[in-house]
Amino acid sequence: MAEIRVENLHKSFGAFSALRDSTFTVPNGDFFCLLGPSGCGKTTTLRMIAGLELPTSGRILLGGEDVTFKRASQRDIAFVFQLFALYPHMNVRTNIAYPLRSQSMLRDEVNRRVNEAARILRITHLLDRSVSGLSSGDRQRVALGRAIVREPLAFLLDEPLGALDAEFRDVMCGELRALHDRLKATTVYVTHDQLEAMAMADTIALMNRGMVEQLGTPQDIYDRPASLFAADFIGSPPMSFLPFRGRVTPGDRTVRVGDVDIALPEIREGREDSELVLGVRPEHIELSSSAPLRAEVVDAEYLGTTQIVTLNTRAGASIKARIPAEIQIRPGEHTGLTLRPGLLSLFDRASGRALRTALHDGPAHG
């Protein structure tokens, strides 16, 4: 197992830059997610790590060794694709063993590794079955088995759950994470689904337009989004935004949104009179009839344990609040909003970047 280091990686296709000057390190044993919308450069990055694309510039180091211009077959990496490419005429055992046979490994060793992979994936009972009769989940397990038997330095997975239906995706998320905890293998996982990334990753690199927008743990990115893009991409429903015009000074503990003062973590970075945006997560909003920040209920979506209430403020901002399901609320109703101050974010609208506040204090976020 090994660390993967990507240095100033750049990839152009003609005039189009798919990836621009990206640098990050995947620590040894990390479950690392490249997350972002389609076209953000996440798959291109993964394919360069695998050796399926060559970078325009920059370096890739695998376990300290520069592999930038090595062929895919010379990199000790296993790649799992979105569409599980299995050999339909072979049974499960032969499919899993295939990468080892092509390395002309001894038969006993092949058997040992195939049995071990099947045991880890809990598909031992399927080893002698034909792959054509398998469910999509079992097919994906076989595809993973083919990666595991190689005992590579790292696993690269490109939206491996994309083809599964939603219900089963949840189950496989849990399995993949448990598998990673057993193998402790460095894993780079590409997805556009923030819930998958939040559920599985140790580290997320959130990508946008060929750049790494933010790098951090799931909780860190959720609590301290570095930009409006990050705040909006992560979370279901995402962060709500209250745009306002104002001036902020280091040391301020409130901002004035319209005619209402709202408390937030102490501001560390000032701005002259400019367009700002206050960001609030749905679970940090309470409805209270007397609160001065007024809003009209547009919709209430019952989810069993909780409900998501959509509201419009007087200034026209659309807000989503997650509140307990027992609270009775109807569209058309007017109410007040209390924003819990501890985890509010503040953004500069023009740059889209978060302003530093007490939220960013502490050694981890220096």
């Binding site: 219900e167 689904d193 923030q194 799931p218 959720y222 995402p238 979506e301």
Partner: protein
């Protein structure tokens, strides 16, 4: 708009029974969502109502009239498919106007203009009317596809997972739109999906299907709070209800034939154990940003529940567990009630 009644409808494909003796009523102005996994018979039911399939037994009545043997065109239904099928060479306006301009209808162009304008406003695509269908994003195309059904005023709208090909954000947006439109138009909608969130948030009533059979029907709150069996209980709720063997919680008072106890996350109280008689142990904490999923082992059973991020629990902690509103199920999965 009008009421739809299915009585004892059965549909077989060779040896497979796709829909089994299904009786169902969708009231005027109701938004009924049929919920079930792949293969439960959802789409077949829609196609039977539309007349795209003929039942082997049973009756389909629409607005009080028996339409079981009517051709699709004679049924006055509008169908929205999972994959938007627009005419690529036509503008959005002409795509929306198409159903109104069919020779059988002979609407005046003036009326077509008014109706298309109304629907475009409703769907927030009025600035796209002159665009070609191919210039639209996926979400806009799906809105046009829905709009093409809405320009007509059929007895019932039939929708087959119309949001499932969209990304999560757009899906959340269109869920609210669709519910608003249904309310504004007073439309009767029969909608099928495997997505519990869509069912919970949009439906006035949910019908839960299992292997072609209707297992339970009721309001979202009824289905969530009062499921008739473990199958229904497990279909709704996120994280899913915990179904634990009776033997795992001997202290809970339960009907004698109880085999499984169902506990929803909001009915579990978990505290760090102080007296050493812990009931469970924290196995893993999943941080999902807005929620933490706490995985707790109680004897051999894994229980997943939401926990406050400030609960101060870490992996390995011994915990005490209180259950406040358990549901009881027999070995067959059937719901049991305390006398």
């Amino acid at each position: 708009m009008a009421e739809l009644v299915l009585s004892g409808v059965t549909k077989r494909f060779d040896a497979t029974v796709a829909v089994a003796d299904l009786s169902l009523r969708v009231g005027d102005g109701e938004f009924l969502v049929l919920l079930g996994p792949t293969g439960a018979g959802k789409t077949t039911t829609l196609r039977l109502v539309a007349g795209l399939e003929k039942p082997d037994a049973g009756r389909v009545q629409l607005a009080g009239r028996d339409v079981t043997l009517d051709l699709p065109a004679a049924r006055d239904t509008a169908f929205v498919f999972q994959q938007y099928s627009l005419y690529p060479h036509l503008t959005v306006y002409d795509n929306l106007a198409f159903p109104l301009r069919s020779p059988a209808r002979r609407e005046s162009e003036e009326r077509v203009r008014v109706r298309v304008g109304d629907i475009a406003r409703l769907l927030h695509i009025e600035d796209k009317l002159t665009s070609r269908a191919t210039q639209l994003s996926g979400g806009q195309m799906q809105r046009v596809a829905i709009g093409r059904a809405l320009v007509r005023r059929p007895s019932i709208y039939l929708m087959d997972e119309p949001l499932s090909s969209l990304d999560a954000k757009l899906r959340a947006e269109l869920r609210i739109e669709l519910k608003r439109i249904q309310r504004d138009l007073g439309a009767t909608i029969l909608y099928v999906t495997h997505d519990q969130t869509e069912a919970m948030t949009m439906a006035t009533h949910i019908g839960v299907l299992e292997a072609g059979r209707l297992v339970q029907i009721g309001t979202p709150r009824e289905i969530y709070a009062d499921p008739v069996n473990t199958y229904v209980a497990a279909r709704l709720g996120s994280p899913a209800i915990n179904l634990v063997p009776r033997s795992t919680c001997p202290d809970v008072i339960a009907p004698p034939e109880t085999a499984t106890i169902g506990v929803r996350t909001e009915h579990l109280r978990i505290r760090k154990s102080v007296n050493g008689n812990a009931t469970g142990r924290v196995k893993w904490i999943e941080h999902l940003g807005d929620q933490n999923h706490l995985h707790v082992m109680i004897a051999e059973t894994l229980v997943v529940t939401l926990c406050d991020r400030n609960a101060g629990l870490v992996v390995g902690d011994a915990v005490d567990i209180d259950i406040t509103a358990p549901l009881f199920f027999a070995a067959s999965g059937k719901r049991l009630r305390l006398q």
